[in-house]
Subunit: 415 residues, 2 copies
């Protein structure tokens, strides 16, 4: 073939905008993702991302799993596989749900590319342009990003120290109905160690939420990425336990094993699972076979439980370090949540400080966080708040970062 | 916590239909995926799936890569990473595109969960309910499945021995415009070793397609999963080469490395790439870090080229075996394509035989294929055709499967 195409030739630039679907206007690049790029500069102390501590990744366990899988089952582990997920791993996950009282069987479980894909699949199945989601203010911004792509709107209820204020839900439902002529598509809730707020919903409020969801005939999306990372108090059963027939429960290996595997799961009723499987087929055929085999091997060898125990120690120390540093270095008028688990706390600063503006000062001091407003789907709050991650940085770095932020805050407040 | 939840309690069944988005009615489970389940029965000879030969997976290479990556770079390989993909792998892919004359740089490349996710992202960015896609009849059913989820409609042009009949495109454009008041969103084309048809588009027709796309101001989605698996003749430059400013090119590691890694890529103009990255963030944050490191290690060590050379030998032999067996065992009146590469050929049987009906007979004889109608997005053809895969089964099994189909065909035709 004779073809002399010049690699340096001028290529015209096409305007793609008129070709795109109108709903893509709602898609924006995530503030967190853009920040993550910034914070890859090695000299930045980052409280911004939701990254686990890489020095505690189960490297030996993964290496052993890879060798074992390739030698024993390589031809299957590298081949196409069922959309639903790898059988033994589904069985393991169904069984672990049992200890919470969730009557799950393997057919209730779907493996996904991290929880983020579960959020996307929910958007794909439920949300048409203009539909409302009922969620808290603040709420997880990855969910907002997933659902914006389908044209979602948001009606929010407040959070108090016990998470979403369930008493506001019936009123919110009526408002949505009046505004759009349709009920909201579902309630989105993060009951354990809420991101970004760090709150945990007590048992009674979970039962209350289950009751109101049933009364209003609304599905519940229960996002539980950190449930196993509890540092004090006792486990509380998921909402899924009370209303399995109307709950879509989301779990993930990202925080308890490794996020780079991209492995999460959905637990939901079998009648709905068929629809999720259809949607996922169109999305990517199935979740990676090899990474499912790796996670399964580590779980089945009983290595995940001691690993999670270890993580709980490490992250508890980091949480306590951050709480102590905040008390020591931050000026009067600031406040913060005391999370019982998870990766984040939510800090408030006195009103003159806008945390989006203040981020520039913080970055000049080589510290990063996520400004609170990013977690308000309608941008109607969080101006004086920030989300702080305590899982990623070692304790001495946490102290230094909080100290720097404290000095900068005092300066900004004129102390 | 005191909670006695009976795992065997009766759980009410919710009717989820009224909660779902109306567009989900277009989603159906893929015939191929459902068939794959059937064909997992070990005694079935399956020409149905698009599975690579598992006995030639690069097991040693993957095992070495895993060990090396975990030891050298484990903390990064298991962590969250950039949505765009792993830098060194993007660079490798951009460079390999150069040899076709595509002026790609790493910023033109996005890593995806197999090509299927690329198809889904295209649907997400381009297709609103009722929008038309211009494609061939037949065409790849994974694309139909991806775009049905966004409510796509299809206008098709015929295929001849040289692939999509480009001469029909202008008329098709006018029809779509008249019918929907809008141009089609893009042209979807599989120029190399078309699935299911097995045809390859010659250079002249690719240039002609590039011209008509430019004239009509239409984007082109160029799906090239098998481009490197050519068994005769010379490589032909991708359409992307002629109109990089309006082409979205899709590649994949599924057929040249292993599908269980779920790794594909998009090459497109930088102005459009930003939108793909936003869409992918909402879908799953990023493609698995670990599997990208594995693929990169195998590519950078120079192991992929000899591996692909090997695959070309193996699959050429299997293609030739299938062609010979068809000539030997199938009755008069049947015909089939002679693919220059890829994994499939397209066989036609005499009109009284409906290949959907005949599949039951074939399965009773323990042989599977995909009936042709599944590749017609408007179900307006393919009734007497079938797609036969020749990559998965070893030669002796191919002969036996084609022999059994031949006997059953003769019986069905009353010979």
């Amino acid at each position: 073939m004779e073809l002399n195409l010049d690699l340096n030739r001028d290529i015209p630039v096409l305007d793609w905008t008129p070709h795109l679907a109108p709903r893509t206007e709602g898609m924006k690049s995530s503030a967190i993702r853009e920040l993550l790029k910034l914070t890859q500069q090695p000299d930045i102390i980052s409280f911004a991302g939701g990254l686990p501590a890489p020095e505690f990744f189960p490297l030996r366990e993964v290496e052993e799993a890879c060798r074992y899988i390739i030698r024993k089952d390589g031809a299957k582990a590298l081949q196409y596989s069922a959309t639903e997920g790898y059988g033994p791993l589904k069985e393991y996950l169904a069984t672990t749900m049992h200890k919470y009282g969730v009557p799950a069987v393997p057919d209730n479980v779907l493996l996904t590319n991290g929880s983020q894909q579960a959020l996307d699949l929910i958007g794909k199945l439920f949300i048409d342009s203009g539909d409302y989601v009922l969620t808290g203010r603040p709420t997880y911004l990855g969910a907002i990003q997933a659902w914006n792509a389908y044209g979602a709107r948001y009606h929010t209820v407040n959070l108090d120290d016990d998470g979403m204020v369930v008493d506001e839900m019936e009123h919110a439902y009526e408002k949505v109905l009046a505004d759009s002529g349709k009920p909201p598509k579902f309630i989105y809730v993060l009951p354990n160690f809420h991101t970004p707020a760090g709150t945990t919903m007590p048992l009674e409020r979970r039962e209350q939420l289950a009751e109101i969801a049933t009364k209003l005939n609304l599905p519940v999306v229960e996002d539980d990425p950190y449930g196993q990372l509890r540092y004090e108090g006792e486990d509380i059963p998921p909402i899924c336990t009370f209303i399995p027939e109307r709950t879509i429960y989301l779990g993930t290996f990202s925080k308890i094993m490794a996020p780079g595997l991209r492995l999460g799961w959905i637990v939901c009723p079998e009648v709905l699972m068929k629809r999720f499987v259809q949607a996922k087929q169109g999305c990517d055929l199935h979740t990676g076979t090899f990474v499912q085999y790796i996670a399964n091997d580590i779980c089945q060898r009983g290595l995940i439980k001691p690993h999670v125990r270890r993580l709980r120690q490490v992250y508890k120390e980091r949480r306590d370090t951050m709480l102590d540093a905040l008390a020591e270095f931050w000026p009067e008028g600031c406040s913060w949540t005391h999370p019982q688990g998870g990766l984040f706390l939510w800090a408030r600063v006195p009103e003159p400080v806008d945390t989006t503006e203040f981020l520039k000062i913080a970055l000049a001091e080589k510290v990063a966080y996520v400004p609170g407003v990013n977690f308000y789907p309608n941008q109607d709050g969080g101006y004086n708040a920030m989300r702080l991650n305590f899982s990623y940085s070692p304790p001495d770095i946490i102290v230094e970062g909080i100290r720097r932020l404290g000095i900068a805050l005092k300066k900004a407040l004129g102390y």
